[in-house]
């Protein structure tokens, strides 16, 4: 992208364009088809050849979704859950990252290795005791119960340590100390403004992780009023005679916000993947 040479269309590359175009079409088709089915009656599904153009039932199908699951409640629950978890994880990670990057204290390296090791523990190992713990605390069917597991984010600490040690100059911290700044003041007024881009990266990672996670939310949230989007959507598929138009209408409206956000901020999304996994 940074190259200034204008790329020219070469005839020899036509097979490459065909392959990439095919991959793009297959990537997008389910999104389009989801939209088509969300505007069609369930019967359209049985037509041969298949229906590939939108119909007029966009509103009716969504009305049926609203009659079946508490869609807006679930949407609100999900947004609230994702936002609060993301903010807490950003705070915890940046504070720890700051400490690991700029302070020296005995056992620092050992503690950091411990954090990295916790990444290896697969989430299901503790599933049953975690469920038991949450039920003992009375947090089943609450967003507390659904969210608490996601507060643990070793990758976040790792990313923040990396970013802070690279982009916050030691001299700046020394100067602030000479001026009598407390460590927390340094964090708030010097570190935080510098690490905003890292917040965007980690924020996207955490937000999308919590948005899409299923196993834990499905385990903890059993009461429809506490459903998050994923659990609510899954419950649409639980009867033997599913109305496909309604089902895909629910999926469509739950996916639209994320697709819009993605299309606007796609550069950040894509760089969050490479930064999150390659550092």
């Amino acid at each position: 992208m940074s190259e200034h040479v204008k790329k020219r269309f070469k005839r020899g590359n036509i097979p490459v364009y065909i392959a990439l175009g095919f991959a793009s079409a297959l990537s997008i088709f389910p999104f389009y088809w989801m939209f088509v089915m969300a505007t069609q009656p369930s019967a359209a599904y049985n037509s041969i050849p298949p229906t590939l153009l939108p119909g007029g039932m966009l509103i009716e199908n969504f009305q049926k979704v609203l009659n079946t699951i508490p869609f807006f409640q679930a949407m609100w629950n999900t947004i609230l859950l994702c936002s609060v978890v993301t903010i807490i994880v950003l705070l915890i990670s940046s504070l720890s990252g700051f400490a690991f990057a700029k302070f020296s204290f005995p056992g620092k390296n050992f503690l950091f290795i411990c954090i990295l090791l916790t990444m290896v523990i697969p989430p299901q190992l503790g599933l049953i005791p975690q469920y038991y713990l949450i039920s003992q605390l009375g947090w089943l069917d609450t967003l507390f119960g659904a969210g608490v597991l996601f507060l643990l984010n070793p990758l976040g600490i790792f990313l923040m340590r990396q970013y802070i040690s690279e982009s916050v100059p030691d001299e700046l911290i020394e100067a602030a100390k000479l001026d009598g700044c407390s460590n927390f003041r340094i964090y708030r007024s010097i570190v935080l403004p510098i690490i905003k881009p890292a917040f965007a990266t980690l924020g996207i990672i955490v937000f999308t992780l919590v948005w899409g996670e299923f196993l834990w939310q499905f385990t903890v949230l059993r009461d429809p009023s506490s459903y998050t989007l994923q659990v609510a959507l899954a419950s649409l598929n639980n009867s033997f005679n599913v109305d496909f138009g309604m089902l895909l209408s629910g999926v469509f409206w739950a996916t639209v916000p994320l697709v819009v956000i993605f299309l606007i901020f796609n550069k950040w999304f894509i760089s969050s993947i490479t930064e999150g996994s390659i550092k």
């Binding site: 990537s27 989430p123 608490v148």
Partner: protein, 315 residues
């Protein structure tokens, strides 16, 4: 909990006038403390509890009964456990191996200097990753519905294949689930490989061209070896992810998820033991077996991948 610690620090700070160094030390511990406190409660304690539980008989309510290794023998003698492990491995292979290969090819194409519109292709190919697993499973669930008129049946009809009852046949269910895993993750791997390809210095290729190496030789001897860290990363993550498969089959199969065995995975088996059958002991034993399998498979796959790279380099 934090404020208590803070108070302790503050009071101890008053007792002896602290040097700058000591203050930093205290801030350091204070700032890393939240992670360890949370980890202790919802990470370490459940992990230890799980190991204890694997040797008990417990339904989550009454007394625990120590039963030694019986939970493990019960699980290991259960044909359904082996079936679920078999399903997990088959779906894992069918869903991840093509994903990594196709991802590599697409990344190679996107990285070609003369190809235009790469940003458009990159964004569209990555887009499936932002959908949730539940959404993907539901869309593919309709696409691969068991109706004879399912769109998937229409498509295979072009090739003269008879309609398949996707959700209730051994290979139909596995194929549909593998395909949705493949669809969602190809773009993700493409992006990682693309970042890897862009990190390879261009002059290496120029030098190889001068030495008379063709494109295939350049790919095998420059691209693959230098891409190895990225390939190892994706192989590792795909292996771990595949063995933890839960959302896709559960949502795809809907109401019959825990009663049929064509696509039951190990985590679904574990979940069913704990939350449908109330047998927390055998479920915990399964969790530990799964942990051992994941560590073993991840080690084996990373070892195989790095070995393959080494052989190619030497050849």
């Amino acid at each position: 909990m934090e404020s208590v610690e803070k108070q302790q620090h503050v009071s101890s700070a008053k007792e002896s006038r602290l040097s700058e160094k000591k203050k930093d030390m205290l801030s350091g511990y204070l700032y890393v403390a939240p992670f360890f406190i949370i980890f202790g409660i919802i990470g370490l304690y459940p992990a230890v509890f799980s190991i204890v539980l694997a040797f008990q008989e417990w339904n989550g309510l009454g007394e625990m009964d120590f039963v030694g290794l019986r939970n493990f023998t019960v699980v290991l003698q259960d044909p359904l456990f082996w079936k679920s492990l078999y399903n997990t491995v088959i779906i894992g292979l069918m869903g991840t191996a093509p994903q990594l290969i196709v991802g590599l090819i697409l990344a190679y194409f996107l990285n070609m200097a003369a190809v235009r519109f790469t940003n458009f292709f990159r964004v569209t190919i990555f887009m499936p990753y932002i959908t949730s697993m539940v959404a993907v499973a539901l869309v593919f669930g309709v696409f691969f519905s068991s109706n004879e008129t399912a769109l998937a049946n229409y498509v295979i009809g072009w090739f003269g294949i008879d309609p398949v009852s996707w959700k209730t046949s051994e290979w139909g269910a596995k194929f549909a689930i593998s395909l949705m895993v493949f669809w969602r993750w190809v773009g993700y791997n493409t992006i990682i490989y693309l970042a890897g390809l862009q990190s390879i210095p261009k002059h290496l290729y120029e030098a190889a061209t001068i030495d008379g190496a063709n494109k295939v030789q350049q790919f095998m001897h420059i691209t693959i070896p230098l891409l190895k860290p990225f390939i190892l990363l994706t192989v590792f993550m795909a292996t771990v992810g595949a063995l933890q498969l839960f959302a896709e089959p559960t949502v795809f199969l809907g109401s019959s998820a825990f009663t049929r065995d064509e696509a039951m995975t190990v985590v679904m088996y574990l979940y069913r033991d704990a939350f449908s059958l109330g047998s927390f002991g055998t479920a915990s034993a399964t969790a530990i077996l799964l942990l051992i399998i994941i560590v073993g498979a991840a080690a084996l796959n990373t070892w195989l991948t790095s070995g393959a790279g080494r052989r190619k380099k030497g050849a």
